[in-house]
């Protein structure tokens, strides 16, 4: 399922300016370009994660990028491990 920009800001409960900063920072990488951006459920969950990082975990702006980068790497590793485990079994 894809969301348009206006659907996305409503569902993620953020304003447009904030969203633009997040995209600028590459915290979010929606598909498409400029006026035809498309967002996925993954982007929505990631936006909630960013909000959690800031509001609940008290991570400051600089820290969000670092946290996301490390989280992305953890998921890379987890996917690699899942694939390794799958190959070892087969």
């Amino acid at each position: 399922m894809t969301l348009t920009l206006s659907d996305f800001v409503t569902r993620a409960k953020i304003d447009r300016a904030t969203l633009e900063i997040w995209i600028e920072e590459e915290w979010l990488l929606p598909r498409g370009r400029f006026d035809t951006l498309e967002f996925s459920e993954t982007d929505l969950a990631r936006a909630q994660l960013i909000q959690n990082l800031i509001d609940d975990l008290g991570v400051n702006t600089e820290g969000v990028g670092v946290a996301l980068h490390l989280i992305d790497q953890v998921h890379d590793l987890r996917r690699a491990l899942v694939e390794l485990t799958r190959r070892r079994r087969s």
Partner: protein, 297 residues
Amino acid sequence: MKDPYEALGVARTAPNEEIKKVYRRLARKHHPDVNPGDKEAEAKFKEISAAYDFLSDPEKRRRFDAGEIDASGAERPQQKYYRDFAAEDGDGRYASGSGFADFADTDELFAELLGRRRRSARGADLQAQLAVDLLEAITGASRQLPLPDGSTISLTIPPGVEDGQVLRLKGKGAAAPGEGSPGDLMAVISIRPHRFFRREGNDVRIDLPITLKEAVLGAKVKAPTPSGVVVLTVPKGSTSGTVLRLKGKGVALPKSPGDLLVTLKVALPKEPDAELEAFLATWSPKGEEDVRKEFAP
């Protein structure tokens, strides 16, 4: 639901600031996205965040302390966590890859498993007009092209380039907004016509004037080609419009260069020549042919 003070492990007298501090410490520890493999984390995070939502609302906290309400109904709305999507991440948009370059460089298996590169937003493509002379388009050339940032880049114009053709300079466009690769610079070629060379595909044409004498008697004449002057043999009795083909003197394509087609144009003397007129008046060609016989009705 559990007593919110117990859930956070704070005293009933704890000030708001302390509750916030404790909550954030616990949230950092138990957030499901910080513990992607821990199934318990989600329940634990829900419990502490519900407790915090409850205690950070002064009215709710006051009424709870007064025994007016209990802690039920403090559940946060159902949230989907990023970890649930990241496990799939079908298109690898958020895959980092960069953190494992050391593994990927040394081991094929790791390169395959971790080598996916992040798809970043590219910078915009820029367009620039580039006027080249016809001769440059025929022989190829090297040109300095000014870039938007003030620097210049050396651009090779390949022989055979067409009017309106676009030469793409990878990565010389606008910088990306983030860490994505820059866009491309598109140089749109416009070809300036030449004084006497014309182009027909890969062949080049030129009209070469010769004198009446050279046409009748034959001669060796100097003729310009795109790659310099050559000596051309005009055969005896060349009529105006005769086309001589100079192989390989056209568009300088490395594999199959075009030809230069020289059309001879007989040019009579600009000033009336009394001697020539006198000769022709008395000249009676043997077996005079009808040069316009093809127009005969």
